[in-house]
């Protein structure tokens, strides 16, 4: 019964299974990343995470004073010539040095937290 249940939750195809697990790891990381910048107001959603070695994502959802739901996604791309960001389909823009520094600090803190969380588990898993 448990096996049947797990097979529904996790695809049996190895690639699909890896992708599903990776997504779940990233979801967990994204939620943690959202807490780096202070308390998330009730009803809001904030995520900040490293999608891959060249991409960071910030996502925020909130309701305005009229109760209208809003969402904004910012994608930071690391390129050979600099760090660029795009927000919800708008053209890419280069980061200022100040924003790049803040992104770096946030990413550094994010990474520290990730290692703090996962390193002991990996060590215990013996892999």
């Amino acid at each position: 019964m448990l096996k049947k249940l797990l097979s529904v939750i996790l695809p049996t195809d190895p690639q699909a299974r890896d992708a599903a697990i990776r997504r779940n790891i990233l979801r967990d990381c994204a939620r943690m990343g959202g807490t780096l910048f202070g308390e998330v107001p009730k009803g809001n959603r904030r995520e900040f995470f490293c999608l891959d070695e060249r991409t960071w994502v910030w996502h925020e959802e909130w309701k305005d004073a009229n109760g209208v739901q809003h969402a904004l996604t910012t994608r930071y791309d690391i390129r050979p010539h600099g760090i660029f960001k795009a927000q919800d389909g708008q053209p890419y823009q280069p980061l200022t040095k100040q924003e790049a520094e803040r992104l770096y600090l946030a990413a550094y803190q994010y990474n520290q937290n990730m290692h703090q969380k996962f390193d002991p588990l990996l060590a215990a898993a013996g892999a």
Partner: protein, 149 residues
């Protein structure tokens, strides 16, 4: 998803029943490794950037200067407000992660960004080569922070 640390001998288990123990540790390591590399690249690029007063190649960037990651790391209660005041924001897809996973890969994104108005287009080979060089530089510089990284 909340990860529960259950029994280290058997790894840990998510509420969905996923076991992230011995079998899946490589995936976790992969994610962490990508983070490590990314931090090094960010540091390298940031440290290369000129001071703000010397850097004005894209005046439009100033309109977007104060947005998402724009306060301190430890306290940023203003983040929500800053996002709110963005003049051209619009409603976006709900499931960020799903959409970002489906987003174009780096090479494609670069090509798209050229269409979006960036003033340069690089060949993918050049990008890969430069990223490799940058990565090496970043590792060298970050070795003091990450030990043997």
């Amino acid at each position: 998803m909340t990860t529960k640390h259950t029994d280290n001998r058997n790894g840990f288990v998510t509420p969905e029943g996923q076991h992230l123990g011995k079998i899946d540790a490589p995936l976790v390591r992969e994610v962490l490794h990508a983070n490590d590399i990314s931090i090094g690249l960010l540091f390298e690029l940031w440290s290369r950037m000129p001071a703000p007063t010397e850097f004005h190649p894209y005046p439009a960037a100033t309109h977007y200067g104060a947005t998402a990651v724009n306060q301190s790391v430890t306290v940023q209660p203003e983040a929500h407000d800053n996002l709110n005041v963005h003049p051209e924001r619009r409603e976006a897809e709900v499931d960020t992660l799903e959409s970002m996973m489906a987003a174009p890969a780096y090479g494609e994104a670069t090509a798209n960004s050229a269409q979006d108005g960036l003033s340069f287009v690089e060949a993918q080979d050049d990008i890969s080569r430069e990223m490799d060089e940058l990565k090496r530089d970043a590792y060298d510089k970050m070795s003091g922070v990450y030990g043997d990284a």
